[in-house]
């Protein structure tokens, strides 16, 4: 098993452009997806992937909604005769359409798949460590086939974590974290 873990604080620049060929996709990335992409990029230097490499991704629950970040300057305003319709339309017009891609849970899984051309067995999850490891363990591949598992997490303090590992079904059999209800990033940061 080869495992890579990265954590970036709010002020840290994530070196995403060193790890991606399809640079136009970066505008859709949240910081945790960037962290995950960096981890997969580093891992790919050691473990050549194929189109059929099984790939499972579990993204952590976001600790703050990105929506609020963009619309907060006006969200707290109080005006007389202010209706919900006015409020809602002003709020949504402040939010970039890109945000919708950022809030969709499976986007990290999609972007890494597009970057590396993964087309094999897969699952995209939120939170669950047990789901990530069990999905890999029960993948329809041979016991020694390399499987890519990835997790990411955006924290309340705007720090971002990413983790990636190449595992085999044999390595996961009986793993103590197979039944864990913790968030998946804990497999990588412990």
């Amino acid at each position: 098993m080869r495992k890579i873990y990265k954590k970036y604080l709010a002020q840290d620049e994530i070196p995403i452009y060193n790890y991606i060929k399809k640079r136009k996709l970066v505008k859709y990335f949240t910081r945790d997806v960037m962290a995950a992409m960096v981890c997969v990029g580093e891992l790919s230097n050691h473990c050549p992937f194929t189109e059929e490499t099984p790939f499972f991704f579990s993204r952590g629950e976001s600790e703050y909604p990105l929506l609020f970040e963009q619309s907060s300057p006006f969200l707290e305003s109080v005006e007389e005769g202010y209706t919900f319709k006015q409020f809602f339309n002003r709020a949504t017009s402040l939010v970039s359409p890109l945000i919708h891609f950022k809030t969709m849970r499976n986007m990290g899984h999609c972007f890494i798949s597009i970057e590396y051309g993964f087309k094999g067995d897969n699952a995209s999850l939120t939170g669950s460590l047990s789901g990530l490891l069990t999905s890999a363990l029960l993948s329809n591949c041979e016991p020694q086939t390399p499987i890519l598992i990835v997790a990411s997490k955006l924290n309340l303090d705007s720090s971002a974590e990413g983790g990636a590992a190449i595992v085999t079904k044999r390595e996961l059999e009986g793993h103590p974290l197979l039944n864990s209800n913790s968030e998946a990033i804990q497999f990588f940061n412990q």
Binding site: P65, L67, F84, F118, K119, S128, S130, L137
Partner: protein, 373 residues
Amino acid sequence: MRVVITGLAFRTPLGCTIEEAMANIESGTRRIARVENIDLVTEGFNGAGEVRHRGKVIKSDHTIDRKIQFFEESLKELESSTSLHSRYSPNDIVLNIGSGIDYIDIEAIFKERESVFKEKRGEKVFFKSFEQISNIALKSPILGGINLFTAACVASTQAIGSSYRMIKEGYRKAAITGGSDSMVNHINYRGFQDLGAMTPPSNPPFACRPFDKERNGTALGEGALLMLLEESSQANPNSILGEIAGYGTTMDSYAITDPDPSAIPLSKAIKKALAEAQITPQKIDAVHLHGTGTAKNAPAEYRALQIVFGERVSTLPVFALKGQIGHLIGSCGAVEMLAVIHSLQNQVTLPTVNFTTPDPEAPLFVVREKPLR
């Protein structure tokens, strides 16, 4: 080892009981209508398939995350109807559920923006799906794993497929699986419109037109369906509703929202499922498709069937439910299992509503007007 479905519980636009839902599937009832539970405050399309009981929309307050409400109600109903907990220990039961984007209570932000938002920064208005589902499942108690699948439109199908693998491999004895989702709220509905996949303003019951030449987008729906999967030797033979015989999943790796027009990865998923089930394509009598009503979906599904079934594609009956209930996103695969079970039990392929004009780019055999036996 055979994996069988032995219980269902659901909240859908077609109803909340098996009798009501099956009758509505069979009669082609259209449940996409102007949204009643909230005022969408939109100038665009304002329809969706909302969850109904005896034809009436189930209403809930803006402080409720509807997908969690539907999940919790379905879970309680499934547990009581299957006597699950008297037959299995909590550690033997896994929950694999598909769902979608988290719910944000924007009405609360508006009404309480001075107090709630300023002080709590979204804490009270942002509902985390995994946390909510975990809390409910742990109280149940379900201790064999709580797994939330979130691959958008295939989320609940991946949840069901993963459950199938867990039972088949003997990893767990019982799996509660399916999906629950609701995008029929202000933020997610507007977001979906912004993505450009929603039909333009039109008469809601006729807005979503799977496979039709004039299709121009999908309509949203909401709902939940949970099912119990068990190994057949542990199941009461009288409770078996169907069997899951194979599962395959692949990725396009093509674009963020568009399907790969070659449909090669999609066809590989079908081939993998058939191979696992040890069924040849010649044995397949009908296919239930995704059928979103979007421009690019139908040709991709047609091409995939053409690769798998060859010339038979022109005579192989297909069906899609979304014209009746809309696109349930994270729970569509699960809820559409109702129609699959209907087809299996009655040995018919149902007509796809709103299909009138065949598309030369996707010349599928879509059943019209009356069921094909």
